[in-house]
């Protein structure tokens, strides 16, 4: 489950896909999903879980490394889990993705102004201030967070945490595009797999 690719500049590239999994909101479901990835040798790049507007369902957003394991196998094995209700696969270009970053940065009084202006440029927020460090919050597309992370690194990152991304399909290309899933159909039409 450990990420194999460094979260370097630009973040995960084309080899990463986003899988949005609707699951029953029942005890142990996350363990089932996580365990499946572990036992099949699939790599999770990031993972976010949250309730949906339907209180019987939760959504797990998983960014997977599709170079190390075929996306189709991941989707079909996931679909076998009884508690998985629906799966949407989002190619990066078809998804609206957002992620939240919290970082505590060294910022002695001499440098504090530069850090604050950087936060302003990225439309982030200062959420806590100490004598020689500040904590900032930034939400946005993962690549924007990567850029921000790189620019503040020279000031000294004390602690940094990212949530992993959440995603929904872009509106103009509504549903996911699944190549050869569910019976191996090569139908190019957008479809979902359950």
């Amino acid at each position: 489950m450990a990420p194999t690719a460094p979260a370097g500049p630009g973040g995960p590239g084309a080899r990463h896909h986003i899988i949005s999994v609707l699951v029953e909101n029942k005890a142990g479901v996350l363990a089932r999903v996580a365990s499946l990835f572990s036992r099949r040798g699939f790599n999770i790049y990031s993972l976010a879980v949250a309730p949906t507007d339907n209180d019987r369902l939760s959504r797990i957003t998983i960014v997977v490394d599709v170079e190390s394991s075929p996306l189709e196998q991941i989707l079909r094995q996931l679909d076998k889990l009884i508690n998985v209700v629906d799966i949407f696969e989002l190619a990066p270009e078809d998804a609206t993705e957002r992620e939240l970053l919290l970082a505590t940065v060294s910022a002695d009084p001499a440098e504090r102004g530069q850090v604050i202006s950087l936060v302003g440029v990225f439309e982030g927020k200062i959420v806590d201030v100490g004598r020689d460090r500040i904590t900032v919050m930034l939400a946005g597309a993962p690549s924007k967070l990567d850029d921000f992370e790189n620019l503040i690194r020279p000031y000294g990152i004390v602690e940094l945490q990212r949530t992993g991304r959440v995603a929904l399909p872009k509106l103009e290309r509504r549903a996911a595009r699944l190549r050869s899933v569910a019976g191996g159909s090569t139908d190019p039409a957008p479809s979902k797999i359950t």
């Binding site: 005890a27 365990s35 508690n83 019976g183």
Partner: protein, 588 residues
Amino acid sequence: MKLTGAQALIKSLEMQKVEVIFGLPGGAILPVYDPILDSSIRHILVRHEQGAGHMAEGYAHVTGRPGVAMVTSGPGATNIVTPLADAMMDSIPIVVITGQVPTTAIGTDAFQEVPITGVTLDITKHNWLITDVNDIPRVVAEAFHVATTGRPGPVLVDLPKDISNATMDWYWPSSLDELDLPGYKPQTTGDPEEVSRAAELILAAERPVIYAGGGILKARGAEALFELATRTGIPVVTTLMGRGTFPDSHPLCLGMPGMHGNYTAVTAMQKSDLLIALGSRFDDRVTGKVSAFAPEAKIIHVDIDPAELGKVRRPDVPIAGDARLVMEQILEALASQGLGPVGTVPDTGSRAATRPDLSSWLDQIRAWQAEFPLTYNQEDGGALKPQYVVEQLRDLSPDDTIVASGVGQHQMWASQYWQFNHPYTWVNSGGAGTMGFAVPAAIGAKVGRPDKTVWAIDGDGCFQMTAQELVTASAEKIPVKIAILNNAYLGMVRQWQELFYAERYSEVYLSPDLPDYVKWAEAMGCVGLKVESAEEVAPAIEKANGIDDRPVVIDFRTDAFEKVYPMVPAGAPNDDIIVGPAEGEGGR
């Protein structure tokens, strides 16, 4: 009607038409054992929980109905983990009920507490921890539905003691709509376009082979397979899990492929231009080195589990669906492309009318069969050959005898030398390779089919793992028959050490006399017999077949040096098949 959770559980099992529970009580499951006294369901008290699990599997193998096992929490539950893993690998529908410590004690490291739903997460098709007594009937109905539909498999229901003791208003889900399984919708019929493409490939193939697996048995599809093979004239290999799907006596049957498959079955697949995989999963023991497996073959892959399509080998025509239903669809598609039932003439102008003639392919197959039959040599007065024992068992027992086996050399000889002419007569641990499977699985099979003769062909190593269940068989009057092919070794491991570790034998010797199998059998209430030479074989088998009031164990002292051939070394291409000892390193 008010019922306790325990009563509701037993009543739910009755509603599922469960005839028999294999189990062993303990603290956490105690409440559920009380209403068993008032139930129509037979309970068979095992001597070890692993036995209960394998009995449930054996029962499911031969009846097609789910086997049910019930055990207590903690070690009771962990003892049934191996059967769950076994059933998961071989897609056997079993329902295991485990007791659990009270909900108030869960997570406190209570006495006999094991988080069994967590432990079995990856080796069950699904499992449930019941936390509300009102859920019991619905969850039991869900458990049976999940176990028996789609790709069958094991399920586990964990029932805390306070839930068993609580009361509820009885109900029974009257339809599938009342189950809470929003994400479970197995697909059973194949995509018509893919089915039509499959029929086209079948009618265009020059060297086709049907690769028939255990999925056909789960789908009750042996009749459809017979029609498909005979109508198309395509030869059939039957995998270890699929033995009996197509009768060995039929001229189109090539027998078992794979690591210890016969030369013709292995080579026909290698040289084929079309493999029609039906309920089979391109297991590594069948394919050998995947990149060198059947290199010229197009693949039609029919499987109820869409995840199997392309998992190992990319199919040209993937069809997700029930093997029986898809075969019936393919038969219809063949008819619409001009190939009707046997005896009808292909419609002129149809695809079937211009179909390649398979006779040179079948001639080639006959030539391989003539040149490379399975062989062994039972010399007069020489050491008793295990293959000879299997052949004698086969010839002296009824044609529809059920055969169970453990795992190892004896399993391969049983599969190679028995003639499986009927489906559901071969009970075996394929994917998991569980030593000790044979004795309890045979008992479960005999419970499911008391009208049939049930032989377990076991190894001496395997027998020692689960033999205590013969006490269960004696106590419950389940007259199974056990043939131990006693070569005093962990034979398959010994074979690998001989061939691949320069005859450096490490920890494989068991001794032929320790234990004394005859005395052990007698101590367990069985008839015990010992056979040391070829001429004693037939009389002992006939004697055993004449005993129907108790189990029989025959200790056959077989040649320790005999090896299983043919053999494709692990990871090697199937073209590297070693036919016999003369070719094998260090062969005798």
